[in-house]
């Protein structure tokens, strides 16, 4: 009987198309918005991805990676002396102004790496060598900086070119690839000492301390040890990642606005598919009544309806996911808007679509249970 159910479904072309379209749209809206949201959240942790370290030591009041409360220079030594710490290095991170060739200014994220080890260095160099960043006034820029800092130049900024950071000349010795940041500003890497020269002087200049656990110590144990001994906050990389995400959840309207759109997608799916499927059942009520009169049980008819609902659901879901992936491929080429599709998103969307289908089928099943087979004898 199941092939009969599918033929009945496919035979009603207009309803079938509306059902599949509704579920495709709902899936697309839910997964695409979720993927943009996940991508955006990932951007908030751009610094964590670009300056990898197992432990990040911060001021006790710091709640997320894009928030800096300067530490004392002596704190580096204090962290190094903590039991369980293999090594600790200073890191400068701050928003600075770069002057472009045409006289305009752009904000940049200046990162100062400890010059001996270059811990926190970018993972992938596109041109030049990261070691050259130790040369006087040398900086390594990321690919976004080429776009942002090339205004007023005959050709895009590259190796050997100079620009100004806070009225001080910076010379490009390398180009690297970085993960995008939430603020959309380019990363400029230099040494810690030179970063202090580029940045305006303040009483305290140390942004973070990057540390590594000693042999035989776990990352968590070392972080707790640092916190106990120094009174500073020590995040593991994973904790800092989730603390940052949680901060954006709590303190911005981003989750709310995306959440509303995602919910809208879900409710559009429920409304369009539920209503259309219900109408489909109503239109077929006399045929279903005939089947019931001929001895089809409520259970068999219910299974036929569930099969019909799941068929349109899975086709709509597949098309929706396909369109989301297509969108992802297109935007990942451009880099904007943010896009990340972890497996939980399609899985969640599948759950939502199945819920919509079962809900729609239940509306029909309710009608079938109420349906008297004697309806077929009425004119």
């Amino acid at each position: 009987m199941y092939h009969i159910a599918l033929k009945m479904l496919l035979g009603n072309r207009s309803k079938y198309v509306v059902l599949v379209s509704g579920l495709t749209f709902a899936t697309l809206l839910m997964t695409q918005q979720c993927a943009i949201f996940c991508g955006l959240m990932l951007w908030t942790t751009g610094s964590l991805q670009n300056m990898r370290s197992k432990i990040w030591v911060t001021d006790p009041k710091v709640e997320q990676v894009n928030e800096v409360r300067q530490l004392r220079d002596t704190d580096v030594g204090r962290v190094r002396s903590v039991e369980g710490t293999a090594w600790a290095v200073p890191l400068f991170w701050g928003l600075q102004q770069a002057k472009l060739a045409n006289g305009t200014f752009k904000q940049i994220q200046l990162v100062g790496l400890e010059s001996a080890t270059l811990v926190g260095r970018p993972h992938q160099m596109v041109a030049g060598r990261i070691e050259d960043v130790r040369l006087p006034n040398a900086v390594v820029i990321d690919e976004l900086a080429i776009l942002r800092l090339s205004a007023g130049r005959a050709k895009p900024i590259g190796l050997g070119d100079t620009f100004e950071i806070n009225d001080r000349e910076a010379r490009v010795v390398g180009v690297c690839r970085t993960a995008k940041s939430f603020f959309g500003m380019p990363y400029i890497f230099t040494t810690y000492d030179q970063a202090l020269q580029f940045a305006p002087k303040t009483r305290k200049m140390l942004s973070f301390i990057l540390a590594e656990p000693a042999d035989g110590w776990t990352v968590e144990a070392t972080a707790r040890s640092i916190e106990r001994t120094t009174g500073l906050r020590a995040y593991t990389e994973k904790d800092f990642f989730w603390a940052t995400i949680r901060w954006y959840f709590r303190n911005t309207g981003i989750p709310m606005s995306f959440g509303i759109t995602i919910l809208l997608g879900f409710f559009v799916g429920v409304a369009v598919s539920g209503q259309t499927f219900y109408t489909f059942v109503l239109e077929n009520l006399r045929h279903l009544g005939a089947l019931k009169a001929m001895g089809a049980s409520d259970g068999l008819l219910a299974r036929m309806l569930i099969l019909q609902a799941l068929t349109v659901g899975l086709i709509g879901y597949g098309l929706g996911i396909g369109l989301t992936c297509l969108f992802g491929v297109l935007v990942l080429k451009k880099g904007e808007p943010p896009f990340m599709l972890p497996y939980q998103v399609p899985l969640g969307a599948l759950g939502a679509v199945l819920f919509i289908c079962i809900f729609a089928a239940l509306l029909g099943i309710r009608q079938i249970r109420k349906l008297e087979p004697a309806i077929v004898f009425r004119g």
Binding site: M1, H3, I4, K7, M8, L10, G11, N12, R286, H287, G289, A290, L291, K292, A293, M294, G295, A296, S297, L300, E372, P373, A374, V376, F377, R378, G379
Partner: protein, 244 residues
Amino acid sequence: MAENKNNYAVHVRGVSKTFGSGLTAVAALKTVNFDAREGELLMIVGPSGCGKTTLLSTIAGTLQFDVGEIDVFGLALQKMTKSQTTTFRRQNIGFIFQEFHLIPALSAVENVSVPLLINGASRAIAEKKSHALLAQVGLEGRGHELPTNLSGGQQQRVAIARALVHEPRLIICDEPTSALDKENGARIMELLQRVARAPGRCVVVVTHDNRIFKYADRMTEMEDGRIARVHDIKDGQSPPFSPN
């Protein structure tokens, strides 16, 4: 004649059915007594609203009655659960509806296969049997056609094939010729007459169509929810009344 339930295909005693309640209550069947014998084509006639279709629905097990007893081939409907009634219909009843109720998205052969599929037959066996039955009703080679591509007469023949395909003992027909011309109507009734003659079978027809009265073995006339008269009719003779 001495009553012996076991000799009847359908044996109805004291059946009443009321729709609605209170001031809006309508008594559709009022203590109806009625029989249909094995091997006969029995027609139920009467004016609109007299209870013909309600009686047909109760015999077919598609409508519950309030009081009384209905035995169909020895099976007591009043003692059956809902699930048992469904199984009873599936195995014992073939339906021919006034409006055919063919599923428009299915081909003729698929429509005919439905009762067999409901009874658990495989698709291949069901379609093979359906093709054979379509040939018997004169639709050989038309099995792949959708109902919309068939004439009214052809659609009714598909519906008849569907009613017979699972070899039910009781065939229930509701105005089977109302949508057909004289020639097609005659052909359908000849077919039903042949089916009724088969051993252990019975055909009950509700109709207004006086052109087909001559095919009845007996006619039961209903008035106001009751059986008014029962007529035995010899082959080829018209009944002694003309219902509207």
